[in-house]
Symmetry: C7
Subunit: 246 residues, 7 copies
């Protein structure tokens, strides 16, 4: 189905195409692909979240390009796509996590939190008067001592992964993971894998200012975001610093 | 009615075509056909639910492809079509079942629960401002000691079956059932029948990771989902393991 | 008025055509004609309701093809058209009947109940944001010791009949009734007339699985639905069993 | 203004045409003309209401073709056009009359009741989201000992008449009245005038089953609907019975 | 701006044309011109209201053609355009006047009452979901011992006049007034002026049945509507009776 | 951007054109230009408000052409454009000023009042379901002993001026001001400047009936509207009376 | 994507284009570019806000061209684009800051305040019934003793900058900053940089009346707006006064 015919069914979320597709959701996926990549890697020791923050101005504060968020003490989220849309989902997740603590006196599981978010996303694909969310999320955290790694997409479907990428070059990074991922990586190995996967699709190498890195380790169950200096060290250690960033 | 003429009547749920059809509901049925199959088989000893989980990535956690759900202790549901839509219906069913327990102190019958869901679905086919649900469900459970097996479709019509398939290859699997189904199967026979029916339409054979299997037995009245190991054993027992999965 | 011109006025319930017609209501009537027939016959001893349940699969439970419903102890309803729409009307009728019992301590008359349903239907033909109901009902019951037989159509108009059919082949069955109906039939004669009328339009004869039969007799004032065995006997008694059903 | 140009302004109630017309209201008047006629005649002794109930099936209960309604003890209403729409207006009028009795302890005047109905109708010609009512009413009753006879039309304008017809053949019947109406008729003369006026446009003569007749006499101030037998007598008395009805 | 171009901006009240016009309001003014004329004349002794009631049937009660209304003891209103729309405005005015009496214990001034009505009209020219009122009003009354005469139009603009006409032939009657109006007329002279102005545009002369006449005199501050007999005398006195009405 | 292309973006307030313009707001500005001019002049001693009231009928009460309004004791407003729209804004301003007095026990500043009005106007340029206000206002008053003069336009932007005109011939009058305005005018000089500016664009000279004049002086802080006699004197004093008005 | 094809997806905020873009948000960015520039510069000693106020009339009060606003004691905001839209956002920010003080007894951080505003903006890009805000903001303030400088754009994305420009000539000014900005500027140097950057894109030089300048210094944590005289001194000091302004 193409051109004129496709256009007949792609103007709203309240309409299926004759072959059962939801074009507005598919277009929202295109919005995700336009965003720079975010990556998640699960290891037995914890989860790694890595975000590519392409900035085109040296005067822009790198830290203000929001792609990595702490959703709760034990959960982090990395986005690809519309930043402003991502903020809505992160805020929603934070409120849900907060309410859960208050109401039940315990933290919300990573899977439950992810599905609360995807259910929220789904409503924007079925009910009229709004567009779908133009963003995908990598959700990582520790649940009952186990590392968990999820993806949310604009259709509101949750998936659990060992390693995944969303946004630009997703397919290439995913191919890299399928070739190099091992289930028994150490957390540091996981960090290296995430960085090398991203480096494999970056023409100019990686830079400290262009990345955000966080881990949620099994032993601490705490979201930990790397400082620029720490990130610098990690990049240098693996020989991944771009020439002009050294 | 075709092309231009059909397009005049297929953009919303609040409009009949001149020949009395609801195109948006028919398109939602196409969305169901695009989803991988789910199967239900009823035997005197209980109900079998089997879901085909086609995954195209080895890094995706098979368990996160949600097609089989426990709706209540004694009721399971398997979906085909939009996963995010299915979650809405399952959540709705669970809340209804929960409310019933609280309000009346007893479990909700399988038929009543199914029809509560189909009535909910129907509203999305008559009132504007939203699209129909792009998902069908196989609902299986025990009611008053009797195994029951239902189908819900995007129009909101409930059907009761001895054996059924929804989603991709529905017609072929249904044909297989019409040829091989016997009303006096044991529960194990029912499992085998479900697996063989699915295998009959799978070019590459069945794999543990690509399936979800559950039963609700008459004697326990409990939804029981097979672990990967148990599923492995069942597939091996019947010689149904795909060559490269063994 | 045809083609292009008709299309200018047939997309909603809130618009008349230049010649004063409501096309969406007329299209909903087409939806009724697409459904298998339901029949009602009034005799001095009670009312007969008969529904044709065309099933195309031997694995489908015939009882789950819902065309005949008990609306209250003394009232039954048979539908033709969209099954899911019919359920909405039946549920509405049941709630109204229940409320009437609670509020006034007495059962609702058949005529009042019918008109409560048709008034509900009418709103869907005048107010926007939804489509008309794509279903017609035969309503039969006993009121003050008198058998009553009504029809509701998608416009929300109530009619009272001595004998009527809705759905597929309505005109042919109606012709049959005009030729053979007698006002002083016994209830059994009424059953036979209903069956013969339906048989007159069935190429393959009648089958137990393909029918639902109910009566509301004047002496009991109770809705009574025939079991498959009882229906079998009735069909056999009148030599109406299809060859391959015997 | 015609064709394409007219179509630009005839799709809703919230829009005037460039020459200041409301096409949807005019189309609703066409819906009235499509309905069989209803007639009212005012005499010093009371008001006569007569409705033509064209039925095309001998199995249809003539009494269920609802064209004549008692709105209150002292007020009757006869409709032409959409029966289901008429029911909405009659119900509205009955509730208003009832509320008036409860709130003020006295009956509602015929003129006030009529205008309450026309004001209700008007809203459906100005506010969007619904279509106008496709029905006209003849309203007859006694107010302060005086016979009153009103008309409501789809625009919501009230008119008072000495004698009027609505629906099919309105113009011909109205011409008949202009020629034959006398202000000092007895109530019986009024009945005869109404019947002869209707007979003048009926090719096949009048039949008991095809008519409803009611009077509201000044001395009783009660709505009185003729039984089929009484109507038979009246028709016979005036030699107006159709040949095949005798 | 014409034809196609005009049509682009004339379908709703929520849209300006490129040259800043509101076409729907202009079309509503056309609806006013389609109505028979109403007239107001202000004299030092009081206000005269005169309405032309063109009736095309001798069986229609002239009094039921509602063009002249008492809005409060001291205020009258005459309309031109949609009668049903006028009723809405009159009812609104009456309720406002009533509320004012109850809340403040005094009557509402003619100017305040008029502007309350025009503000109500204005909302229908700016907010969507409804059409403008297709009616204009002549509002006459006594305020603080002074005669006041206002006009409301479909845009919701209030104007005060010495003498004015609305509806059919407005321009011709207005020309007549500009030539013949004197500010120091007696109330009777005012009546004669109003009648002669209307007669000047009536081909067939004036008739009692075709007119409504009312005055609100400064000394009584009471709305007074002439009976047919009184009107007859007035017409005869001035030799204005149509030949066939004498 | 012109013709077809412009039309694609000019039908509502909820849409930007590709070059970032809001056409409906620009069209509302055209509505302002269609209205006769209003003028404001600020002098150290107070503010002058002058309105041109073009009337085309000698029978119309000049005082009823509402262009000059007292919004509060110390604030006046003169409008150009849709009179009925202006009334809405004036009423809104009056209510706000009243509420401020009641709630805080002090008068509302001219700037605050103006901005409360422009914020109200802005909502009609961003949210759907209504059109922008087709009117501009000159707002003059005394705040903390200082004369203030503001403009509101259909976009909801507030501006403060030394001297300004809105409506017809705005640009010509503004040019006149730029040439002749002096910041140290006496209030009488300000009046003369305003009159001469208006006269400079009036072909037929000024007339008492065609003008409204008001001042808010610093020493009184009271809105003062000139009577026709006083205005007559002012016009005569400056030799500005139109020949045929003397 | 261009012309016809682009037009298919650019009429509302509730729709993605096939390549995942939100055209209405992009058009709102065009509205920002149509507005005169606003500038922010961050230095270790505080934040500089500078606004270009192009006025085309000498009679317009420069102070009334609102581009620079105090949002809270320690936060200022400068806008580019629709002034009336900016006022909505400023008002929203002020209310939020006020509520925060009342509820938590402390001032709101600059980052939190900015993100509260961007979240508010985002809703207007996803939910229908309104257009996006056609304005961008530069937000500057002191938070925990640190100078912070943010940007909000019509998509609702927050960015933090060392130096930035919004509105007309943004790219040129930004280029100027990239060449001349130093992170260790004194506050006075920051002012000079801002002025020189703006001067670099002004053909006619800078004028006191055409600028607004404010600082929020680290030591005072107070928003301070320069008076015309002070601004005059600053411009003169740096030799930046336009020839005809001296």
């Amino acid at each position: 189905m193409q051109g004129q015919q496709q256009q007949a069914y792609d103007r709203g979320t309240t309409i299926f195409s004759p072959d059962g597709r939801l074009y507005q959701v598919e277009y929202a996926r295109e919005a995700v692909k336009r965003g720079s990549a975010s990556i998640g890697v699960r290891t037995p020791d914890g989860v790694v979240l890595l975000a590519d923050k392409q900035s085109h101005s040296p005067l822009l504060e790198p830290s203000s390009v929001e792609k990595l968020h702490k959703a709760d003490d034990h959960v982090g989220m990395a986005s690809a796509g519309h930043v402003a849309d991502a903020r809505q989902l992160i805020d929603f997740a934070r409120r849900q996590a907060q309410v859960n603590r208050l109401r039940f006196g315990e933290v919300m599981g990573v899977e439950t939190l992810t599905k609360t978010v995807t259910d929220f996303i789904q409503r924007y694909t079925q009910v009229g008067g709004a567009r779908p969310f133009g963003v995908a999320l990598v959700v990582g955290g520790i649940e009952n001592g186990e590392p968990r790694l999820f993806e949310t997409d604009p259709s509101g479907t949750p998936y659990e992964w060992e390693a995944l990428a969303i946004g630009e070059s997703r397919d290439d990074i995913q191919d890299y993971f399928e070739e190099h991922y091992e289930p028994d990586l150490s957390l540091d190995d996981g960090i290296e894998l995430a960085l090398r996967a991203l480096a494999s699709v970056s023409d100019d190498g990686l830079t400290t200012a262009g990345l955000d890195l966080a881990t949620i380790a099994v032993d601490t169950e705490q979201y930990y975001q790397y400082s620029p200096d720490e990130l610098d060290d990690v990049l240098a250690e693996h020989g991944l610093l771009a020439a002009d960033d050294e």
